[in-house]
Subunit: 321 residues, 2 copies
């Protein structure tokens, strides 16, 4: 949750003159999104989200993110749609930051998702993978194997501060993935961060996907494994196979998983657990005490990584093999 | 700005069953209010504010605050209106906290108010004073002379950490006010915290007053002096007499100020500067490093206090005497 940058009414009104957005009635900083500053605007036309891109987001990536939202929406996916300025541009500037106006999606993210919601998430993820197939722009995944190595080099020496033995354990994981990371699975545009706070529901019906700011090109089944980690573990760390089964069935009801993709699930899930472990570990070690950010516990993802390391067959995820 | 307590969709839906509020479409934690957690709800009927009262607000005061909003709205003042539950109560409970649903006011608070806005604020403050005259409930001002003494006793010994010589200087102020605090001026319900973030505008038109959680019974002219401090100083600490004149003229266009009230303005403004200095000083000395709260600099109000101490005639505020 974040409002890193405040804005004033003079700059905002000036920013809005470039758009056909109606007259401004109110704006509130909202506690949503961890990388950017977000405001909910009411206008005489419709509610809108105003996003100011903070420095953790590479300005050069914004055309990919905003273009992807436009592309997916044009293919019928419910996701936020950037509102073009009168000159056609999707980006403006406000308070010294790149800024975009984006349609407001009604819906709520679930603090307590159930298996039926996981099924919807799986189906929506597959629909996104199909809809993204003909998106023209490319963006490599900065948080795949090479990115992990960079994070680990900056964290390894202090890893044992978090848990004794971690430097050795994660070092072994890095060696494992250097040899065993798949490179021949179907690729496409992945969301790469489809956690519960990025999926909206109205009642039990999924109403939209948001926050495409980690989207990139990578293995589609890797995206599935991220969702298994994000949606199918209980707070106590246990894997919930009912949720896993629902998520995978939902996915396969829209897009088939090949035998090779299924066989790779334990490795992919172990890798995606490592990916979130490493970013959280790095943030944990480098975020100054007192920063206005809630640090996420890296140990949650260490537990998931260990679970996946022990998986012998993808059937353990609830998939029929 | 604050979201201290998160809520989940299950508890929220349950909470809403007690109201005739329409179906919930979305809720967002908003960065508004420093004492409570606030959410902006969209429903099939209308946008609403959901406020969870955190522990700094005394539960016993809530009927005064909520009743006052109802009273003022019934007298034509634009302010948030608590939505009664089906059983008539204005308060429910959510996530273990007292909680209320309150109408959403469109409008924006001004980061850069001008003299014309100060005039509107003065007029709205006077209208509130008149509208509050027949409100039945009473609430003494916990942050008047006796409250200042309590705060000062807890801060005096460490005051010089903030600026050398402060213990002596503020000690002298406390002695001054013990002898010179007025007690014979017209009393009524005051807002007591009418800072720019509590006044909404649509364009140049004042569209509503919010945040009545410091409201109490005290001298009406004391409320005027709070507004002089909150609205009429520049960021560099200079008093802007054009804004002061506009605010006072706006006020007097709706409610007359007696000669005694005018004569007391320098003392009242000096006292209200001390009041905000003392709460900020106390928070400054006691808020742990790393708390998710932005500490306000007490020295801003020390500068204002010193300015008022030097005022010889109320004419210096821009009032014709």
């Amino acid at each position: 949750m974040a409002v890193y940058t405040d804005i004033n009414e003079v700059d905002l009104r000036n920013f809005l003159t470039a758009y056909d957005a109606g007259d401004l009635l109110s704006y509130k900083g909202i506690a949503e999104g961890v990388e950017n500053s977000n405001f909910l605007l009411h206008t005489t036309k419709a509610p809108l989200i105003l996003t100011l891109y903070e420095k953790r987001v590479d300005r050069g990536d914004l055309p990919f993110f905003l273009g992807l939202m436009e592309h997916l929406a044009s293919r019928g996916l419910t996701c936020p749609l950037p509102l073009p300025r009168r000159d056609g541009a999707l980006l403006g500037e406000l308070s010294g930051r790149p800024a975009a106006l984006i349609s407001f999606l009604e819906g709520m993210w679930l603090r307590k998702p159930e298996a039926r919601h996981c099924r919807e998430v799986g189906a929506a993820l597959a629909a996104m993978h199909l809809a993204g197939a003909d998106f023209a722009l490319k963006r490599p995944n900065a948080l795949s194997l090479e990115g992990w190595k960079g994070l680990w080099e900056k964290s390894a020496a202090r890893a044992d501060e978090v848990e004794k033995g971690l430097e050795d354990e994660i070092g072994a994981e890095m060696a494992f993935f250097s040899q065993n990371w798949p490179n021949d699975l179907p690729q496409g545009v992945i969301h790469a961060d489809l956690f519960p706070d990025n999926v909206f529901f109205l009642g039990d019906r999924l109403s939209g996907l948001i926050d495409f700011y980690f989207a990139c090109n990578d293995m589609l089944a890797y995206d599935v494994s991220i969702c298994l980690n994000a949606w199918c573990f209980e707070k106590n760390g246990d894997y919930n196979v009912t949720k896993g089964r629902a998520l995978l069935e939902g996915y396969r009801s829209v897009r088939a998983l090949s035998d090779a993709e299924i066989a790779a699930l334990p490795t992919l899930a172990r890798g995606s657990a490592l990916r979130f472990f490493l970013t959280r570990l790095y943030d944990w070690l480098t975020t100054p005490a007192g920063a206005l950010v809630v640090k996420k516990d890296p140990l949650e993802y260490l537990g998931k990584l260990r679970f996946h390391r022990g998986v012998v067959s993808p059937g353990e995820y609830g998939i029929d093999v």
